[in-house]
């Protein structure tokens, strides 16, 4: 009897925790949706801000976030995946690789403002990329790397060793066994981790604040060395730096809603891609 009560209470506790988390998420989405939904219109999505950002839309910020995320992806996706492949498949498991792995895990815990400051020094000042899409994208890329490496390595670890050995025993070279008999099965997991990392980067404010984002630009960036507007920074400005608080509040909520929907879309794309890849590999 006592065991049954303990079990009941245990499950109850677990269930309550899940409900609390769900409630917080729903409340959060409802708050943003209800207050920002009214601001969303075709004009809001396709126009630049006007009249000191109290009217108009957020198109430059959407484009800026998109462009900077592309730069981030170009750096972080291939490098993260290749580093993970090297660490998991090729590197000898010595003390040095353990330290490297630990360092990578720790990097994912470094506050994003630190990446921002590092980006200013390295990309803006030393490499002279200026405050630009390039500098901001690379800074975000560094921020994403630990996540993509760790997630990709975990994905590689889920591929059973028997696939590697089976291929080797048939006369495959190491790279052949990895390319044809490991990567296809690890890719969905690698993608997921990578895009989750990118989604996180797309929502970051601190790392781009010093490296390239602009308060207000009436035009779109024309090259990688231009400054840009970005959704998270725009939101930050609207929410905390603008003098006409009551006028821009709905616009701020609208911006937040767009940012959340964009990240949701990114995650949906991964979800679909995963599904497709999983079907392909079964043939």
């Amino acid at each position: 009897m006592k065991r049954k009560i303990i079990e009941f209470l245990g499950f109850l506790g677990l269930r309550v925790c899940v409900y609390i988390v769900l409630a917080v998420i729903l409340l959060f989405l409802y708050d943003i949706g209800s207050k920002g939904g009214g601001a969303i219109s075709w004009e809001f999505l396709s126009q630049a801000p006007r009249k000191g950002m109290t009217e108009g839309g957020i198109f430059p910020a959407i484009m800026g976030t998109f462009l900077v995320t592309v730069v981030t992806a170009i750096l972080a996706v291939p490098m993260g995946m290749f580093a993970a492949i090297y660490l998991n498949e090729y590197a000898k498991q010595t003390r040095l690789t353990r330290i490297i792995r630990l360092a990578i895990r720790n990097l994912s815990g470094v506050p994003s403002i630190v990446y921002g400051l590092f980006g200013v020094i390295l990309f803006v000042n030393i490499l002279k990329f200026g405050t630009s899409i390039l500098s901001a994208g690379l800074t975000l890329g560094l921020l994403t790397l630990p996540w993509t490496i760790t997630a990709s390595e975990e994905a590689l670890k889920t591929v059973p060793n028997s696939y590697r050995e089976g291929a080797l025993a048939l006369g495959a070279t190491k790279w052949q066994s990895i390319r044809t008999n490991v990567l296809p099965y690890a890719l969905p997991g690698m993608f997921t981790g990578t895009v989750l990392g990118l989604a996180r980067a797309a929502g970051e404010t601190a790392p781009i604040m010093f490296t390239g984002v602009a308060f207000y630009l009436p035009f779109l960036p024309k090259s990688l060395s231009d400054q840009f507007m970005a959704l998270p920074y725009h939101l930050y400005v609207m929410a905390t730096q603008h003098h006409a608080i009551s006028q821009v509040r709905p616009l701020a909520y609208g911006t937040a809603l767009v940012l959340i929907v964009l990240i949701l879309l990114m995650n949906m794309v991964v979800f679909i891609l995963r599904f497709k890849l999983r079907r392909v590999k079964k043939e």
Binding site: S162, Y163, G166, A169, G171, T180, K282, E283
Partner: protein, 253 residues
Amino acid sequence: MNLETKIETKDLNFYYGNKQALKNINIVCPANRVTAIIGPSGCGKSTFIRTLNRMNDVILNAKIEGEVILDEENIYSPEVDVVKIRRRVGMVFQKPNPFPKSIFNNIAYGLRINGMRNKRNIEEIVEKSLKEAALWDEVNERLRENAFTLSGGQQQRLCIARSLAVEPEVILFDEPCSSIDPIATAKIEDLIQKLKESYTVVIVTHNMQQAARASDFTAFLMLGELIEYGETEKIFTNPKNKLTEDYITGRFG
């Protein structure tokens, strides 16, 4: 009886870190015969068989001394290409390990990585290998289905077909029947008897009846040492060593 030696070990020592797993093993595996390696768990059987196609290369901190001679060439000498060795010395693992692909592609895999592109050739060899592994009749209508839909015994025969497809000279079986049922085991034992006509077979087993039934030569290992080696019939009817006798009569193991 004069037998040609296919693969032979000379003073083979193997270490995992500081632990010595094989001690001075000298075994001759004659061509077109089945050599069985028996012994209690942890005696080094699997370690031994994996030295014959250098599958132990991937193990960290492992060290090997001595020679493994395949057709008069030491497969551990530096100029030898390990990939070519593994193509000549195929391996079937303890647990059936089909790849998560179709039955057809499981077998075509080895051909493709070895550079074969001609579709018709691949189809022919897939069929030939499946017939050789006595699996064709059971799967010829479902070649495009995922290999995981097969039963355990069928999966193991698929793995055998897969290694046959790349035309090895030697096939190593590492306890191939330890995870499948007796009927499937009987099929694989029959198969091994057929295979020795064209291949040299080395099989690790913890099942003494299997060694007695299926092999021509038997090596008895214990704690990394070769206790006795000889014709299977002699080992099982008239063992020279007391330990061998105790083991095959089931006094320990």
